[in-house]
């Protein structure tokens, strides 16, 4: 089969980076960054997700169609999150007629 086989060295490097990021995100959580705590934690989580998806799940060697489906899935998730939070976070900003 003509599929791509990555080296053990590549996988080991990704694995060590993932462990380091876990240590960093745990340590940073005890430092007071105010509202940025959430931003930093989620940014590190997104980087870890990308590493796992691109390398361990072989998305970088996948067909264009598979890549499109993956991105499409994230798009649907963002619609779910964006529209619901747009509602929740803007309630009370404008008056409700009749109330």
């Amino acid at each position: 089969m003509s599929e791509h086989v990555d080296s053990v060295r590549t996988y080991a490097a990704v694995w060590l980076i993932l462990l380091a990021l876990t240590a960093i995100t745990t340590a940073v959580a005890f430092v007071d960054l105010g509202a940025f705590s959430v931003v930093v934690a989620l940014a590190i989580a997104v980087v870890k997700m990308l590493l796992v998806a691109l390398f361990f799940m072989h998305v970088r060697h996948s067909t264009q169609l598979t890549k499109l489906v993956v991105v499409g899935g994230l798009l649907w998730l963002s619609i779910l999150l964006t529209f619901t939070l747009a509602d929740v976070w803007t309630r009370g900003l404008i008056g409700t007629p009749g109330r």
Binding site: L19, T25, A29, A41, M49, F56, T66, L80
Partner: protein
């Protein structure tokens, strides 16, 4: 009647309905990803519920979140990342046709998966002892808003519970793969089940990569 289908015997790697083995492999991968997308939306609803209620009942959620043991959470995250590493090495072993390496890495993955569940069980047991399980005996120190605190722990048990259920199913799949590998069913030409199971295992890992900071970490700096 020597037709085309008979001329080329059907194999696991090339079923009759596909033109090439590569096409069949791509179809399997795509199908698994479509399933994983439905799983993203499934967990996405829980992540959304958590975000909305954390926003509405912020101080109590921060207090409840800080009562979780961040170090145990971090250790368990590391255990799961190690299991993803051994899983990807199992997939690689099957790609290059190393049967013994495949079996060893599948066993290691299974051990790490069970270890994760063991730590999870220890944490849940702790919640029962601390009366942090929603119900009549629930009590969280330091707040008068017990109902809102129970909402946090309801979401905590729903999210970690569903994740643990996926891990249990994953361990079942690993056991099946192990038996098949032992029988020598996988070759470099046909290792699709190992590959697909790998996608599932890494997906469950990604869910935890988000659960860990959201449940354990983001309000830690506020202190108890």
């Amino acid at each position: 009647m020597a037709n085309h289908a008979e001329a080329q015997a059907e194999t696991l790697a090339l079923r009759e309905q596909f033109d090439t083995a590569e096409q069949q492999k791509d179809a399997s991968t795509l199908g698994m990803w479509v399933f994983l997308i439905t799983e993203i939306m499934f967990f996405g609803g829980l992540f959304l519920a958590y975000t909305v209620y954390r926003d509405i009942y912020f101080p109590v959620f921060a207090l409840a979140s800080s009562s979780l043991n961040a170090v145990i959470g971090a250790v368990n995250t590391a255990v799961l990342l190690c299991s993803s590493f051994t899983m990807v090495l199992a997939v690689r072993a099957s790609q290059v046709g190393q049967r013994n390496a495949l079996i060893i890495f599948l066993i290691l993955t299974l051990i790490l998966g069970v270890a994760f569940l063991g730590v999870k069980a220890y944490e849940w047991n702790e919640k029962f002892q601390e009366h942090h399980v929603p119900g009549p005996t629930f009590h969280l120190e330091g707040t008068g808003q017990q109902g809102e605190a129970q909402l946090f722990f309801s979401l905590y048990f729903a999210m970690t519970g569903l994740h643990a259920l996926h891990m249990v199913i994953g361990c079942g799949i690993l056991t099946w793969l192990l038996i098949q590998s032992w029988k020598g069913k996988f070759t470099p030409e046909y290792m699709t089940p190992v590959d697909i199971a790998g996608l599932y295992w890494h997906f469950v890992d990604i869910i935890w990569i988000f659960l860990f900071p959201l449940l354990y970490l983001i309000d830690r700096h506020l202190g108890k």
